[in-house]
Symmetry: C2
Subunit: 265 residues, 2 copies
DNA sequence: GAAGATTGTTCCATATCATGGAACGACTCC
DNA sequence: GGAGTCGTTCCATGATATGGAACAATCTTC
């Protein structure tokens, strides 16, 4: 794929760069980081500011703008699962005191669509929109198990993240098979040390009657905490919560349309 | 301000257009809507798809992409108020059963930063990132009252939205003055018929000791419901909730930094 | 099932438009 | 007060975006 629309590409680079930086940045700083001339960066920033995708703080430095929020959350709410899943996320997060999040397949990856954070001082705080690896997470194992045509194990990378990352394809296959049988998947320290996750699939009937893997509901906690809660018990609980989401999704399209047509303040 | 970076500008047009459309759209359709040649639209879409800001559905039609979610929510979470306010939003929404939302000044407007929706069938569902008018909303009156240098009443538009929209500057001034005295503002059917809102300001001490208007906490409900709850009682309650947010914000920067440094799953 | 309309995509000559070096004034820091 | 920043503006150059035309592939329609 060749370069095309260089300026647009650079503008997007710029947005992601500002997104990645924790603080607002100045023109020169950005120019250095992206290896572009100051004048070019300045011109790009002006174009983005004009449309509200970037804003200047009091000191004249640049940071992501408010209109970006509108675009991003619009894209999120567009997903039919997010709306019906949110109450379930909050319910479970409150009941467990741990972070509960929703992931969905996008392209050839799983991304975090929504979350409800737990109450603890030590809690998982996934970043929305972020991609998660497949072979080292609970939701990834579900993807392999319940959407094998879209996520073939053969094509999976096996990058090592921690000591416990599964790096043999046969072991992974066994893990995935167990997840398929149990209806939930577990990840203990396989991606990030100290972090464990239990996840269950949200399946939806397509018009032609086939069940399709549309999302995964996950509970994340410190590994010790997960052990205390009991992975199997938690797995079953999460499976039930995912079923509740399924049930809501299963409502007739007419009903769903009514719900969607809420008044906007 | 002249045109510059035409291609970037058009790309942004395209993003907003896709955002505004409820369904995924095809190339020709978009080209017609934006009055651009098909080839140009196609090229722009390719550039955006390449970076994940736009995605194609199964039918090859285009819709806002997942990376847009990451950018948007990143911009949202960057705001220091959002993080500390969320628990309060959820708490109040749960207690009242009505939608509670947080707005903040951006540029010369107030935008919706976060929300927790109520449980009712009829409930307010503000769109995140959306701008709200100033003269016809409770949060706008707060802006006039608590940040008059930034939001001068003299410069305010007085567009008519409903029969009850305040359209005389002197009346508006009186309303604003009352809001300043009471510490909360009320809007009854002034923007949208049937919708009433009570809002209270979130003030933060600047380093030089000046209190600054950083956000407004608002409770939205059907007008009859608001009347039943008692606007004054609700106003005081909202004022208290806003104070809780202030108290959390007032924590020392060191403490806040620690909290921000949560583990990421 | 053929004809016609509409779709998404590719190609390419044209000149528009983005590009980036240089110079600017306003800062801050020694 | 000089040397280093900073953000911004200007402008000649040609690289690059542009959009009309042609393409094959689907959808409609009769």
């Amino acid at each position: 794929m060749e370069l095309l629309l260089q300026s647009v590409d650079r503008a997007i680079d710029l947005l992601f760069h500002l997104h990645a930086e924790r603080e607002a940045r100045g023109v020169s700083d950005i120019a250095r980081a992206l290896a572009l001339p100051k004048s070019t960066v300045h011109r790009l920033l002006q174009a983005l500011v004009r449309r509200g995708l970037v804003e200047q703080d009091a000191g004249g430095r640049y940071e992501p703008g408010a209109r970006l929020v509108a675009l991003g959350l619009g894209a999120q709410e567009r997903d039919p699962v997010v709306g019906v899943a949110r109450p379930v996320l909050e319910e479970e997060a409150r009941a467990l005191g741990e972070t509960v999040f929703l992931t969905a397949p996008r392209g050839s990856a799983m991304i975090v669509l929504d979350k409800a954070e737990g109450a603890g001082f030590l809690r998982a705080a996934p970043r929305l929109g972020e991609e998660v690896p497949l072979h080292a997470t609970a939701v990834g194992k579900l993807a392999f198990a319940f959407a094998p045509e879209r996520f073939p194990i053969e094509g999976a990378g096996l990058e090592r993240f921690t000591e416990r990352t599964v790096r043999e394809r046969t072991t992974l296959r066994a893990e995935v098979e167990r997840a398929r049988k149990q209806g939930f998947a577990v990840n203990r320290d396989e991606w990030i040390d100290g972090l464990s996750v239990v996840a269950a699939p949200v399946m939806l009937e397509t018009p032609d009657g086939e069940p399709r893997f549309v999302a995964a509901l996950a509970v994340a906690a410190a590994t010790q905490r997960l052990r205390a809660l009991g992975p199997t018990r938690l797995g079953r609980r999460t499976r039930e919560a995912a079923r509740r989401i399924q049930a809501r999704l299963g409502a007739s399209p007419a009903t769903r349309r009514k719900r969607a047509g809420r008044r906007s303040s």
